[in-house]
Amino acid sequence: MEHIVIIGNGISGVTLARHIRKRSDAKISIISAETNYFFSRTALMYVFMGHMKFEHTQPYENDFWKKNNINLIHKKVSEVFPKEKSLLLDGNTVITFDKLVIATGSKPNKFGWPGQDLEGVTGLYFKQDLENLEKWAPTTKRAVIVGGGLIGIELAEMMRARNIEVTFLVREDSFWNGVLPKGESQMINRHIKEHHIDLRLSTGLKEIIADENGRTKAIITDKDETIECQIVGLTAGVSPNIDFLKTSGIELGRGVKVNRFLETNFKDIYAIGDCAEQHEGIGERRPIEAVWYTGRMMGESLAQTLTGNPMEYKPGHWFNSAKFLDIEYQTYGWVWAKEKENETHFYWEHKGGKKAIRIAFDTESRRFLGINTFGIRMRHEFFDKVLTDQQSVDYVIENLAAANFDPEFYTSHKKEIQIEFTKQCVGLKNESL
């Protein structure tokens, strides 16, 4: 029987395994050094905050894997031998495969800061990071978080839940403004401060200092300010977790290089999820996408290929979501931090300062390009269809009620948004609205 080996039990690898099992009886093995069972990485923060227990982050009951005849191996892959079609586990066991899928995800970036490996310094990615934070939290008065992105703000929220003071160093002059346009970014700045987080914009890390026991004692910023702290969170992005492949002969860039069929330079060896790098980005996408949803979609696509129905990875319209403390964020289509040449942005912000939407559209044709929505939930299906049908921005504004996904009885801001849109974006040509 064919043996399909998947390295990594995250969303990509597990989605792949499930979909292969639906279509085939092949022998499937999933290898992970991190945990026995699949868990939702995005939920680690809720375990620390006490919203959930770790077992709640596991989407399947433990007997699910046996029932579906998926073999779980809790070991570390030391080396891959593509030509021999075999793997070395924990430096001592060799197993063979017919097809191999690398789905090892990411690891937190470290930029060679002095002291970056001290006790008390961590990213927020692995289950082990959570265990470390649990260990350090009871004796921590202040945490410094370095890097203003999605994981950084989650870590800040976690610390605040335990009443730990937080200093949040953000290199940019406004939170996540490489992705978020100014209005939204500043809204989040304000919300961060509302949660009593000491937000330091345009500030970076220079050095982490240890006490006599080798534990984190303080950091020094690039402005030469010393801040005492017992935990340092390094959340300046992630990069593919592929160090174990360096000697394998598999073509590597920043990630594992794959073609549109997610295949590497070796036949029968594939890579999916955060660790896969497309030779060229698909559409407006980056070559490496470290997002839950893209990992899942690669798993869905590759399952077809591996079960005799070769299928390119063709992600549909871009979407994503996050939650910044108490403000939910969703995005559909492309909204860039700065308008591109042929684009116009429409921005509306609620007077309460916690809800906003931004719609990007083509200035000439008025084609809808994308939406950022904060504090208002929107329907994925609606925008997916709008993007496929290449509808206009005016169509979207007219149909905001159908697009809305807020719970029942929520205040609708439809009218207000429509009036604002007419003011900002409807010229004499479009009086019909």
Binding site: P59, R162, M297, D326
Partner: protein, 531 residues
Amino acid sequence: MSKTVKNISIASQEHNDLNGTQRAGIALGLIGLFIMTLALLNVEFPNKGYWLAGSITAIFSGIVLYSNSFYLNRVEGISNNHVWTSSLTSRGTVAYAIGLILTSFYVVLYWFPQYLGLSSEEGAANTGIVSFFDPLSLLLNGKPASQWFVYGTLYTIAIVGLGYKFILKYRHNKYQLVRTISIMFFQLGFAFLIPEILEKLNPEKAYFAKDIKNMWPLNYYFFDEWHLKNMINGGNLGLFMLIFGVALIFIISPILTYFYGKRWYCSWVCGCGGLAETAGDSFRQLSDKSEKAWKIERWMIHTVLVLAFVSTIAVIFTFLTNNPDMSFITKDQFVWGIVIFLGVFTTALYVFKRKDMDADAIYTMLSLVAIMVIAILMNYFSGNQNIFFVDSYKLREWYGFAIGAAFSGVIGVGFYPILGNRVWCRFGCPMAAILGLQQRLFSKFRITTNGGQCISCGNCSTYCEMGIDVRSYAQKGENIVRSSCVGCGICSAVCPRGVLKLENDTPAGRINSNEILLGNDVDLMDLINQK
């Protein structure tokens, strides 16, 4: 993760020590309860009315003081911090202690009311906590208090007081706001004040239930001989209660369930649901989400369903046998009427709704068939009073003991801190299966999953009080159309990515299942889903 610090704070805050106001609030509430405890221990208070009013006021002010200070000082949003590290909310010592107190209270209430001060002799004055409530009882219904009046009052205090706390906790969520106000309104008005006042206005009439929202089979004695007689002899009000009660079950409830799902009752109106949603809110995460628990649930609610129907059919059967003059139908017509009704209904179910049935619905259908068969057997193998050689009133008594008292009170509420706040609703409610069948097959209600946005975090499943593994549907892009969903809306509230929405929409396409989630290539989705 062994390094979780246990604490025993009531406020489910591990590292956030309570501030002065919060402590004062808790102290004030406890003083109110302490005064009642003194009354229970037969301390005689002068001017009972003032002391009673004082203790109730203290409880309410304590809750208000505590909640205002706790919730209004933080930014609006989900506040589930430390739920799984606090003793009270994660089955710690405090949880077991409270569970024990509640359980003992129910045992005493149902089987040893004399310990509450109920006089064991006919006509003698009550003492203890029962007589402590006399002033309020006299004011409302003109009679001295009974143990049930004490219970009803405490129940209402719990729903209204902790409902206020719930509202502050979810003040950013209008669905929760409206729903909780509804629950508080129905408890205070329909379950408590109106029945008491009606009692006062009709002092000469024999007792019958005056809480119109407490429908059969939840109110299991509705069709008992004594209750039917008292309603029939109860003048206009009695007849209204009888007719409205029957209409509620067979007409009003199915219509409302069609439009809104069973949530219109379970989490907007019902008293059991009301207590679960307010006083029980801190324990919703304790429900068991395993498939095994789902199987037990299926067996239990259908056993209860069959018992409730059969025992009711039995008492009506006996009533008709004994009182042919009080009714316009004979017992034969009654039994065959039920058999034909259930026969037509289940046949129609099988013919038209087979495809939409899940295991829950199939069990309900089979239960109805079982009820039909038992009803026929009953007609041929029973004497006047004996149903299968068991006295029908004994059967009733056993049902009342096992389901009405032992389950709904002792386990249903007493075990809140251990098994979660909806144990009764999930495993024991005689309406659960029937409303559930309607919700699954004849309703516009569903929880819509927002395309491919789910990140499988598990907040929805964790906080589902009915033990539904919401995530297992959401992560597949599937709508949640489950018999047991009471529509509390908390899954949608705690979802960090805006994935879930409770809504009433066209029944078409309501039960769906996507192999491939939205977001992937459209051709792939079509290819897989249309196969």
